[in-house]
Symmetry: C2
Subunit: 192 residues, 2 copies
DNA sequence: GAAATTTGTTCAATATAATGAACACAGCAA
DNA sequence: TTGCTGTGTTCATTATATTGAACAAATTTC
Protein backbone atom coordinates (compact mmCIF):
# COMPACT_ATOMS: atom_id res chain seq x y z
CA UNK A 1 0.00 0.00 0.00
CA UNK A 2 1.82 3.03 -1.24
CA UNK A 3 -0.83 5.71 -0.89
CA UNK A 4 -3.35 6.43 1.82
CA UNK A 5 -6.33 4.21 1.23
CA UNK A 6 -9.33 5.45 -0.77
CA UNK A 7 -12.02 4.10 1.47
CA UNK A 8 -14.75 6.25 -0.06
CA UNK A 9 -15.18 4.28 -3.23
CA UNK A 10 -15.01 0.98 -1.40
CA UNK A 11 -17.75 1.95 1.00
CA UNK A 12 -19.96 3.23 -1.78
CA UNK A 13 -19.40 0.10 -3.83
CA UNK A 14 -20.42 -2.20 -0.99
CA UNK A 15 -23.36 -0.03 -0.06
CA UNK A 16 -24.60 0.04 -3.66
CA UNK A 17 -24.12 -3.69 -4.03
CA UNK A 18 -26.49 -4.25 -1.13
CA UNK A 19 -28.92 -1.60 -2.38
CA UNK A 20 -28.68 0.32 0.85
CA UNK A 21 -29.57 4.00 1.09
CA UNK A 22 -27.54 6.53 3.00
CA UNK A 23 -30.36 6.86 5.52
CA UNK A 24 -30.50 3.14 6.17
CA UNK A 25 -26.74 2.82 6.50
CA UNK A 26 -26.78 5.81 8.82
CA UNK A 27 -29.27 4.10 11.09
CA UNK A 28 -27.44 0.78 11.04
CA UNK A 29 -24.01 2.24 11.62
CA UNK A 30 -24.77 5.21 13.84
CA UNK A 31 -22.87 7.54 11.53
CA UNK A 32 -24.68 10.60 10.25
CA UNK A 33 -25.94 10.63 6.71
CA UNK A 34 -23.95 13.78 5.99
CA UNK A 35 -20.73 12.17 7.12
CA UNK A 36 -21.35 9.12 4.97
CA UNK A 37 -21.84 11.31 1.92
CA UNK A 38 -18.62 13.22 2.52
CA UNK A 39 -16.65 10.05 3.18
CA UNK A 40 -17.88 8.38 0.02
CA UNK A 41 -16.74 11.37 -2.04
CA UNK A 42 -13.38 11.35 -0.23
CA UNK A 43 -14.00 14.88 0.98
CA UNK A 44 -12.80 14.13 4.54
CA UNK A 45 -10.37 11.87 6.38
CA UNK A 46 -12.60 9.78 8.61
CA UNK A 47 -11.65 8.41 11.98
CA UNK A 48 -10.88 4.73 12.38
CA UNK A 49 -13.72 4.48 14.87
CA UNK A 50 -16.09 5.90 12.27
CA UNK A 51 -14.88 3.56 9.55
CA UNK A 52 -15.24 0.68 11.97
CA UNK A 53 -18.86 1.68 12.66
CA UNK A 54 -19.53 1.79 8.94
CA UNK A 55 -17.98 -1.63 8.42
CA UNK A 56 -20.19 -2.94 11.20
CA UNK A 57 -23.26 -1.39 9.61
CA UNK A 58 -22.38 -2.93 6.28
CA UNK A 59 -21.80 -6.32 7.87
CA UNK A 60 -18.25 -6.62 6.57
CA UNK A 61 -14.83 -6.69 8.14
CA UNK A 62 -12.84 -3.50 8.63
CA UNK A 63 -10.11 -4.82 6.35
CA UNK A 64 -12.55 -4.99 3.47
CA UNK A 65 -13.03 -1.24 3.45
CA UNK A 66 -9.35 -0.42 3.39
CA UNK A 67 -7.57 -0.96 0.14
CA UNK A 68 -6.28 -4.50 0.17
CA UNK A 69 -3.79 -4.21 -2.63
CA UNK A 70 -3.30 -7.66 -4.06
CA UNK A 71 0.43 -7.18 -4.17
CA UNK A 72 2.65 -8.91 -6.70
CA UNK A 73 2.20 -12.63 -6.79
CA UNK A 74 5.45 -14.36 -6.04
CA UNK A 75 6.76 -17.60 -7.26
CA UNK A 76 10.14 -18.89 -6.26
CA UNK A 77 11.85 -22.06 -7.28
CA UNK A 78 14.98 -22.87 -5.37
CA UNK A 79 17.00 -25.69 -6.85
CA UNK A 80 19.08 -27.72 -4.56
CA UNK A 81 22.22 -26.42 -6.22
CA UNK A 82 21.25 -22.73 -6.10
CA UNK A 83 20.35 -23.04 -2.49
CA UNK A 84 22.12 -20.66 -0.17
CA UNK A 85 25.20 -22.20 1.40
CA UNK A 86 24.65 -24.03 4.62
CA UNK A 87 24.93 -21.86 7.67
CA UNK A 88 27.16 -22.77 10.55
CA UNK A 89 25.70 -21.88 13.87
CA UNK A 90 28.78 -21.72 16.03
CA UNK A 91 27.47 -24.77 17.77
CA UNK A 92 29.10 -27.57 15.87
CA UNK A 93 27.22 -30.48 14.43
CA UNK A 94 24.18 -28.58 13.17
CA UNK A 95 23.78 -27.86 9.48
CA UNK A 96 21.13 -25.33 8.51
CA UNK A 97 19.87 -25.09 4.96
CA UNK A 98 17.68 -22.14 4.09
CA UNK A 99 15.12 -23.21 1.54
CA UNK A 100 13.13 -20.01 1.27
CA UNK A 101 14.64 -17.14 -0.74
CA UNK A 102 15.77 -13.86 0.72
CA UNK A 103 12.67 -12.06 -0.50
CA UNK A 104 10.57 -14.06 1.92
CA UNK A 105 12.77 -13.34 4.93
CA UNK A 106 10.89 -11.82 7.82
CA UNK A 107 7.60 -13.10 6.49
CA UNK A 108 7.89 -16.86 6.43
CA UNK A 109 11.07 -18.90 6.29
CA UNK A 110 11.68 -22.58 5.61
CA UNK A 111 14.71 -24.53 6.78
CA UNK A 112 16.10 -28.01 6.79
CA UNK A 113 18.10 -28.75 9.95
CA UNK A 114 20.58 -31.60 10.01
CA UNK A 115 21.74 -32.66 13.45
CA UNK A 116 24.77 -34.80 14.05
CA UNK A 117 24.51 -37.15 16.99
CA UNK A 118 24.63 -35.51 20.42
CA UNK A 119 24.34 -31.87 19.52
CA UNK A 120 21.86 -29.04 20.05
CA UNK A 121 20.71 -25.76 18.51
CA UNK A 122 19.77 -23.00 20.96
CA UNK A 123 17.76 -20.00 19.74
CA UNK A 124 17.27 -16.53 21.09
CA UNK A 125 13.66 -15.41 21.50
CA UNK A 126 12.23 -14.20 18.20
CA UNK A 127 9.78 -11.41 17.78
CA UNK A 128 6.59 -11.69 19.72
CA UNK A 129 3.93 -13.62 17.87
CA UNK A 130 6.41 -15.70 15.95
CA UNK A 131 5.60 -19.39 15.59
CA UNK A 132 7.64 -22.37 14.49
CA UNK A 133 6.40 -25.54 12.85
CA UNK A 134 8.61 -28.60 13.10
CA UNK A 135 8.35 -31.83 11.17
CA UNK A 136 10.80 -34.57 12.04
CA UNK A 137 12.04 -36.22 8.85
CA UNK A 138 14.65 -38.53 10.35
CA UNK A 139 15.77 -39.55 13.84
CA UNK A 140 14.34 -37.90 16.93
CA UNK A 141 14.88 -34.60 18.76
CA UNK A 142 13.96 -32.92 22.01
CA UNK A 143 12.50 -29.42 21.91
CA UNK A 144 12.73 -27.30 25.04
CA UNK A 145 10.87 -24.00 25.29
CA UNK A 146 11.06 -22.35 28.68
CA UNK A 147 10.75 -25.16 31.20
CA UNK A 148 8.80 -27.34 28.83
CA UNK A 149 10.40 -30.24 27.01
CA UNK A 150 8.87 -32.33 24.27
CA UNK A 151 10.31 -35.41 22.65
CA UNK A 152 9.67 -35.90 18.96
CA UNK A 153 10.30 -38.89 16.74
CA UNK A 154 10.31 -39.38 13.00
CA UNK A 155 7.04 -38.22 11.45
CA UNK A 156 5.97 -36.15 14.45
CA UNK A 157 4.83 -32.59 14.07
CA UNK A 158 5.13 -29.71 16.56
CA UNK A 159 3.74 -26.19 16.48
CA UNK A 160 4.91 -23.81 19.16
CA UNK A 161 5.43 -20.20 20.06
CA UNK A 162 9.04 -19.16 19.97
CA UNK A 163 9.15 -15.75 21.57
CA UNK A 164 11.09 -17.21 24.48
CA UNK A 165 14.46 -18.93 24.64
CA UNK A 166 14.19 -22.39 23.12
CA UNK A 167 16.48 -25.12 21.96
CA UNK A 168 16.32 -28.13 19.68
CA UNK A 169 18.49 -31.06 20.73
CA UNK A 170 19.44 -34.38 19.26
CA UNK A 171 20.30 -36.51 22.28
CA UNK A 172 20.44 -39.76 20.37
CA UNK A 173 23.47 -41.45 18.91
CA UNK A 174 22.20 -41.21 15.32
CA UNK A 175 21.76 -38.10 13.19
CA UNK A 176 18.40 -36.31 12.85
CA UNK A 177 16.81 -34.18 10.14
CA UNK A 178 14.09 -31.64 10.82
CA UNK A 179 11.94 -29.56 8.52
CA UNK A 180 11.25 -26.18 10.12
CA UNK A 181 8.96 -23.32 9.19
CA UNK A 182 9.24 -19.96 10.96
CA UNK A 183 6.32 -17.65 10.55
CA UNK A 184 6.47 -13.99 11.61
CA UNK A 185 3.09 -12.56 12.27
CA UNK A 186 4.15 -8.99 11.67
CA UNK A 187 7.17 -8.42 9.49
CA UNK A 188 10.14 -6.94 11.29
CA UNK A 189 12.59 -4.47 9.80
CA UNK A 190 15.91 -2.86 10.47
CA UNK A 191 16.75 -1.69 13.93
CA UNK A 192 17.67 1.94 14.57
CA UNK B 1 -13.64 -8.02 15.49
CA UNK B 2 -16.36 -7.16 17.93
CA UNK B 3 -15.06 -3.92 19.42
CA UNK B 4 -13.34 -0.95 17.84
CA UNK B 5 -9.67 -1.79 17.51
CA UNK B 6 -7.19 -0.81 20.21
CA UNK B 7 -4.54 0.56 17.91
CA UNK B 8 -2.71 2.35 20.70
CA UNK B 9 -1.19 -0.70 22.32
CA UNK B 10 -0.30 -2.22 18.96
CA UNK B 11 1.56 0.86 17.83
CA UNK B 12 3.42 1.13 21.09
CA UNK B 13 4.35 -2.53 21.05
CA UNK B 14 5.84 -2.35 17.58
CA UNK B 15 7.60 0.92 18.31
CA UNK B 16 9.11 -0.51 21.50
CA UNK B 17 10.17 -3.69 19.76
CA UNK B 18 12.22 -1.64 17.32
CA UNK B 19 13.59 0.62 20.03
CA UNK B 20 12.20 3.70 18.36
CA UNK B 21 11.61 6.93 20.28
CA UNK B 22 8.56 9.09 19.81
CA UNK B 23 10.72 11.77 18.22
CA UNK B 24 12.18 9.40 15.68
CA UNK B 25 8.83 7.91 14.81
CA UNK B 26 7.45 11.41 14.51
CA UNK B 27 10.11 12.33 11.97
CA UNK B 28 9.68 9.12 10.00
CA UNK B 29 5.92 9.24 9.92
CA UNK B 30 5.23 12.96 9.77
CA UNK B 31 2.86 12.72 12.73
CA UNK B 32 3.52 15.01 15.67
CA UNK B 33 5.08 13.58 18.79
CA UNK B 34 2.16 14.80 20.87
CA UNK B 35 -0.32 12.98 18.67
CA UNK B 36 1.66 9.75 18.87
CA UNK B 37 1.66 9.91 22.65
CA UNK B 38 -2.09 10.45 22.81
CA UNK B 39 -2.79 7.71 20.29
CA UNK B 40 -0.67 5.18 22.16
CA UNK B 41 -2.61 5.86 25.35
CA UNK B 42 -5.91 5.55 23.46
CA UNK B 43 -6.84 9.10 24.42
CA UNK B 44 -8.04 10.02 20.93
CA UNK B 45 -9.62 8.40 17.88
CA UNK B 46 -7.04 8.92 15.18
CA UNK B 47 -7.80 9.39 11.52
CA UNK B 48 -7.17 6.57 9.10
CA UNK B 49 -4.77 8.81 7.24
CA UNK B 50 -2.83 9.36 10.46
CA UNK B 51 -2.70 5.67 11.29
CA UNK B 52 -1.56 4.97 7.76
CA UNK B 53 1.29 7.46 8.15
CA UNK B 54 2.31 5.75 11.38
CA UNK B 55 2.26 2.33 9.77
CA UNK B 56 4.45 3.71 7.00
CA UNK B 57 6.86 5.16 9.52
CA UNK B 58 7.02 1.84 11.33
CA UNK B 59 7.57 -0.04 8.09
CA UNK B 60 4.59 -2.31 8.63
CA UNK B 61 1.30 -2.77 6.89
CA UNK B 62 -1.78 -0.86 7.98
CA UNK B 63 -3.51 -4.13 8.77
CA UNK B 64 -0.91 -4.95 11.38
CA UNK B 65 -1.90 -1.94 13.48
CA UNK B 66 -5.61 -2.66 13.32
CA UNK B 67 -5.31 -6.38 13.97
CA UNK B 68 -6.99 -7.61 17.08
CA UNK B 69 -4.71 -9.00 19.70
CA UNK B 70 -3.12 -12.29 18.75
CA UNK B 71 -5.22 -14.91 20.46
CA UNK B 72 -4.02 -17.47 23.00
CA UNK B 73 -0.61 -18.96 22.42
CA UNK B 74 -0.87 -22.38 20.95
CA UNK B 75 1.31 -25.38 21.17
CA UNK B 76 0.44 -28.60 19.46
CA UNK B 77 2.26 -31.87 19.44
CA UNK B 78 0.97 -34.40 16.97
CA UNK B 79 2.41 -37.83 17.38
CA UNK B 80 2.63 -40.00 14.37
CA UNK B 81 0.08 -42.38 15.82
CA UNK B 82 -2.42 -39.72 16.81
CA UNK B 83 -2.22 -38.19 13.40
CA UNK B 84 -5.49 -37.87 11.56
CA UNK B 85 -6.10 -40.77 9.26
CA UNK B 86 -4.76 -40.42 5.79
CA UNK B 87 -7.11 -38.72 3.42
CA UNK B 88 -8.01 -40.25 0.13
CA UNK B 89 -8.42 -37.73 -2.62
CA UNK B 90 -10.52 -39.66 -5.05
CA UNK B 91 -7.52 -39.69 -7.30
CA UNK B 92 -5.82 -42.94 -6.43
CA UNK B 93 -2.19 -43.19 -5.57
CA UNK B 94 -1.89 -40.05 -3.44
CA UNK B 95 -1.75 -40.29 0.33
CA UNK B 96 -2.27 -37.06 2.28
CA UNK B 97 -1.27 -36.83 5.92
CA UNK B 98 -2.39 -33.75 7.79
CA UNK B 99 0.25 -32.82 10.32
CA UNK B 100 -1.30 -29.63 11.65
CA UNK B 101 -4.23 -29.94 14.05
CA UNK B 102 -7.75 -28.84 13.31
CA UNK B 103 -7.35 -25.68 15.35
CA UNK B 104 -4.88 -24.34 12.87
CA UNK B 105 -7.06 -24.97 9.84
CA UNK B 106 -7.70 -21.90 7.75
CA UNK B 107 -4.62 -20.21 9.12
CA UNK B 108 -1.68 -22.40 8.23
CA UNK B 109 -1.74 -26.08 7.42
CA UNK B 110 1.05 -28.63 7.07
CA UNK B 111 0.83 -31.79 5.03
CA UNK B 112 2.94 -34.72 3.93
CA UNK B 113 2.04 -35.94 0.47
CA UNK B 114 3.03 -39.41 -0.66
CA UNK B 115 2.76 -40.02 -4.39
CA UNK B 116 2.80 -43.45 -5.92
CA UNK B 117 4.46 -43.68 -9.31
CA UNK B 118 2.53 -42.07 -12.17
CA UNK B 119 -0.15 -40.20 -10.32
CA UNK B 120 -1.21 -36.61 -9.79
CA UNK B 121 -3.08 -34.38 -7.34
CA UNK B 122 -5.20 -31.59 -8.84
CA UNK B 123 -6.39 -28.74 -6.60
CA UNK B 124 -9.17 -26.24 -6.92
CA UNK B 125 -8.18 -22.58 -6.50
CA UNK B 126 -7.93 -21.62 -2.84
CA UNK B 127 -8.83 -18.27 -1.34
CA UNK B 128 -7.12 -15.31 -2.90
CA UNK B 129 -3.77 -14.59 -1.37
CA UNK B 130 -3.13 -18.19 -0.37
CA UNK B 131 0.39 -19.48 -0.87
CA UNK B 132 1.87 -22.95 -0.82
CA UNK B 133 5.39 -23.95 0.12
CA UNK B 134 6.67 -27.25 -1.19
CA UNK B 135 9.75 -29.16 -0.13
CA UNK B 136 10.54 -32.35 -2.00
CA UNK B 137 11.66 -35.00 0.45
CA UNK B 138 11.94 -37.93 -1.94
CA UNK B 139 11.67 -38.47 -5.67
CA UNK B 140 10.65 -35.68 -8.04
CA UNK B 141 7.39 -33.99 -9.01
CA UNK B 142 6.04 -31.56 -11.58
CA UNK B 143 3.97 -28.60 -10.38
CA UNK B 144 1.66 -26.93 -12.86
CA UNK B 145 -0.08 -23.65 -11.98
CA UNK B 146 -2.02 -22.10 -14.83
CA UNK B 147 0.09 -22.63 -17.94
CA UNK B 148 3.30 -22.73 -15.96
CA UNK B 149 5.07 -25.99 -15.19
CA UNK B 150 8.04 -26.50 -12.87
CA UNK B 151 10.01 -29.67 -12.32
CA UNK B 152 11.27 -30.30 -8.80
CA UNK B 153 13.72 -32.89 -7.52
CA UNK B 154 14.65 -34.13 -4.09
CA UNK B 155 15.71 -31.23 -1.88
CA UNK B 156 14.15 -28.53 -4.06
CA UNK B 157 11.89 -25.88 -2.63
CA UNK B 158 9.01 -24.06 -4.30
CA UNK B 159 6.85 -21.15 -3.15
CA UNK B 160 3.89 -20.25 -5.29
CA UNK B 161 0.50 -18.65 -5.31
CA UNK B 162 -2.33 -21.10 -5.43
CA UNK B 163 -5.44 -19.05 -6.05
CA UNK B 164 -5.67 -20.62 -9.49
CA UNK B 165 -6.15 -24.19 -10.56
CA UNK B 166 -2.93 -26.11 -9.98
CA UNK B 167 -1.75 -29.68 -9.88
CA UNK B 168 1.13 -31.68 -8.45
CA UNK B 169 2.19 -34.68 -10.50
CA UNK B 170 4.61 -37.51 -10.07
CA UNK B 171 5.49 -38.53 -13.63
CA UNK B 172 8.36 -40.77 -12.66
CA UNK B 173 8.30 -44.49 -12.07
CA UNK B 174 9.32 -44.25 -8.42
CA UNK B 175 7.26 -42.85 -5.52
CA UNK B 176 7.70 -39.27 -4.28
CA UNK B 177 7.19 -37.58 -0.91
CA UNK B 178 6.49 -33.87 -0.55
CA UNK B 179 6.25 -31.61 2.49
CA UNK B 180 3.63 -28.96 1.91
CA UNK B 181 2.65 -25.85 3.84
CA UNK B 182 -0.52 -23.95 2.94
CA UNK B 183 -0.78 -20.47 4.33
CA UNK B 184 -3.93 -18.39 4.17
CA UNK B 185 -3.19 -14.68 4.23
CA UNK B 186 -6.58 -13.33 5.08
CA UNK B 187 -8.77 -15.41 7.27
CA UNK B 188 -12.02 -15.88 5.43
CA UNK B 189 -15.19 -14.84 7.14
CA UNK B 190 -18.88 -15.33 6.73
CA UNK B 191 -20.74 -13.70 3.93
CA UNK B 192 -23.67 -11.54 4.87
C1' DG C 1 27.14 17.66 42.37
C1' DA C 2 24.88 20.81 38.37
C1' DA C 3 23.96 21.40 33.49
C1' DA C 4 22.65 19.46 29.33
C1' DT C 5 20.23 16.04 26.71
C1' DT C 6 16.50 12.81 26.07
C1' DT C 7 12.58 10.58 27.48
C1' DG C 8 7.31 10.93 27.35
C1' DT C 9 3.51 13.82 28.96
C1' DT C 10 0.18 17.93 29.09
C1' DC C 11 -1.15 22.59 27.61
C1' DA C 12 -3.61 26.30 24.47
C1' DA C 13 -4.44 27.12 19.70
C1' DT C 14 -5.84 25.58 15.33
C1' DA C 15 -7.53 22.57 11.81
C1' DT C 16 -10.98 19.62 10.69
C1' DA C 17 -14.09 15.54 11.52
C1' DA C 18 -18.85 14.93 12.71
C1' DT C 19 -23.52 16.47 13.28
C1' DG C 20 -28.58 18.10 12.39
C1' DA C 21 -31.07 21.01 9.49
C1' DA C 22 -31.88 22.97 5.34
C1' DC C 23 -31.32 22.30 0.55
C1' DA C 24 -31.81 20.73 -4.50
C1' DC C 25 -33.27 17.32 -7.48
C1' DA C 26 -35.40 13.52 -8.75
C1' DG C 27 -39.61 10.23 -9.65
C1' DC C 28 -44.61 9.52 -8.82
C1' DA C 29 -49.60 10.41 -7.67
C1' DA C 30 -53.40 13.21 -7.46
C1' DT D 1 -49.47 21.85 -12.71
C1' DT D 2 -49.19 21.02 -7.19
C1' DG D 3 -47.96 18.35 -3.81
C1' DC D 4 -45.40 14.27 -1.69
C1' DT D 5 -41.73 10.97 -0.64
C1' DG D 6 -37.40 9.60 -1.35
C1' DT D 7 -32.67 10.24 -3.09
C1' DG D 8 -27.95 12.47 -2.02
C1' DT D 9 -25.73 17.02 -1.44
C1' DT D 10 -24.27 21.39 1.14
C1' DC D 11 -24.65 24.62 5.06
C1' DA D 12 -23.55 26.43 10.09
C1' DT D 13 -22.45 24.62 14.46
C1' DT D 14 -20.31 21.61 17.59
C1' DA D 15 -17.03 18.21 18.89
C1' DT D 16 -12.53 16.72 18.64
C1' DA D 17 -8.23 15.34 16.16
C1' DT D 18 -3.83 17.49 15.49
C1' DT D 19 -0.16 20.58 16.33
C1' DG D 20 3.97 23.32 18.42
C1' DA D 21 5.51 24.73 22.69
C1' DA D 22 6.02 24.25 27.40
C1' DC D 23 6.57 20.79 30.83
C1' DA D 24 8.51 17.22 34.26
C1' DA D 25 11.18 13.17 35.02
C1' DA D 26 14.85 10.24 33.99
C1' DT D 27 19.41 9.76 31.98
C1' DT D 28 23.79 11.32 30.42
C1' DT D 29 27.86 14.60 30.42
C1' DC D 30 31.11 17.48 32.27
Amino acid sequence: MENPPMIGKNIQKIRMRNSLTLNVLSERSGVSKAMLSQIESDKVNPTVATVWKIARGLGVDLQDLLDVEAGPKRKFVINRSEMSASLDTGENGVMIKVLSPLEMAGDIEVYILQFDSKCSLPSEPHYSGTEEYLTVLKGSVKVTAGNNTTELHKGDFLAYHCDIFHTIENASASPAVVHMVVRYYQQHHQKR
